[in-house]
């Protein structure tokens, strides 16, 4: 086990990030050296573009993009972007709250082409629409699949109508 007590919750990047983004940062926290900011869905593209293009922060890589279902909390979903700066060896997590009713977020596949499949996966598993995505199809499940299996209200052993009761 790594000695987590040795990682102080010191904000290293957040002052710089707040200075860059100003009021677009709705909230931020730092847990044992993991720094996170919260931004509004409408701002995500401009925020990530700013973080990518800023010379001081230099977040050139989108490491991961995923979604979280917080049912019954409101807003229900969160889309999480994990940024890495390869040159500066630092990480930042950007979270976007998404409402349950017609959940949608603008796509960031224009900034990082690699976001394409991440967003397809998030659509497939959680049903979050990424507006402007070039090809938002299911990635893991088949086309005829009904529902979004990683949503908390998807019954764990629900059978798909085309597959039949046994399977």
């Amino acid at each position: 086990m790594p000695n987590t007590t040795a990682l102080p919750s010191v904000e290293r990047l957040l002052p710089q990030v707040r200075e860059l983004l100003g009021p677009k940062v709705l909230a931020s926290h730092c847990h044992r050296g993991d720094e996170t900011i919260l931004v509004a869905p409408g701002e995500i593209v401009s925020v990530l573009a700013a973080l990518r293009d800023d010379k001081g922060l230099d977040f050139d890589t989108l490491m991961d993009l995923c979604a979280v279902d917080h049912l019954p909390r409101r807003p229900r979903f969160e889309v999480v972007y994990h940024l890495v700066s390869l040159a500066k060896r630092q990480r930042l997590r950007v979270k976007v709250p998404v409402e349950e009713k017609s959940p949608s977020v603008p796509t960031v596949s224009g900034l990082w082409p690699g976001a394409d499949w991440f967003e397809r996966e998030a659509w497939d598993m959680y049903g979050i629409v990424f507006e402007g995505h070039p090809d938002l199809r299911r990635l893991l499940m088949y086309e005829q699949f009904e529902g979004h299996p990683l949503r908390r209200d998807y019954p764990v052993n629900r059978r798909q109508p085309l597959i039949g009761p046994r399977n």
């Binding site: 699949f145 299996p149 052993n157 085309l162 597959i163």
Partner: protein
């Protein structure tokens, strides 16, 4: 008549003996059970002692389909196709509890037992099964083969039911992807 019966039972015994010690397996390995399969096929447990460890990586040259690991709904049509490509006589071993019943993967993605896709001769549960259990299963299969009465005739004549829609096999699928997938400029060189 008695002479004929004696003759066919002797030929059945001879054919069974020949078949049970010359099982060429096709390892359909999809998940963690594959590690145990490797242990089994390696020198320590040495499946070759039973005449069943010579993997042929084409279904057309094999007569034992070893389904090793979790089978998802998306891979199910591939498994069916491989089974259909094997020539008679052919046997199927379900290796690991995932292939027997779906195991603990009672979820949205996993086939609840490969016997909904292909007929199974021997089930070997365990997660993963110990190599000794697999050896026991192979020996049980050999007993079964020895006792078969079909002789030189084709064993299985049943036609498997069509798979439901998500399972539909689309042989043109890979080509359709290759030809129609949108490519970014400059991606052609990497093809």
């Amino acid at each position: 008549m008695g002479v004929l019966n004696a003759f066919t039972s002797k030929t059945d015994a001879l054919i069974g003996w020949g078949r049970k010690y010359s099982l060429f397996n096709y390892p359909f390995v999809t998940a963690c059970c594959g590690m145990e399969f490797m242990a089994l096929a390696g020198a320590h447990y040495d499946l070759d002692r039973f005449g069943a460890a010579f993997p042929r990586f084409t279904p057309r040259q094999s007569d034992l389909l070893m389904v090793v690991g979790t089978v998802s709904h998306k891979i199910a049509p591939v498994l069916r196709r491989i089974y259909e490509q094997m020539t008679e006589p052919k046997w199927v071993v379900a290796f690991g509890v995932c292939t027997c019943t779906g195991g603990f993967y009672d979820n949205y993605a996993t086939v609840q037992g490969i016997d909904t896709i292909v007929p199974v001769d021997v089930y070997i549960p365990g997660c993963p099964p110990r190599p000794e259990m697999v050896l026991d299963g192979i020996m049980k299969l050999q007993e079964k083969i020895q006792q078969e009465k079909a002789g030189l005739l084709v064993r299985r004549t049943e036609v498997l039911p069509e798979l439901p829609v998500p399972y539909t096999n689309r042989p043109d699928f890979a080509r359709a992807i290759a030809e129609n997938a949108p490519r970014r400029p400059g991606a052609e060189g990497g093809r």
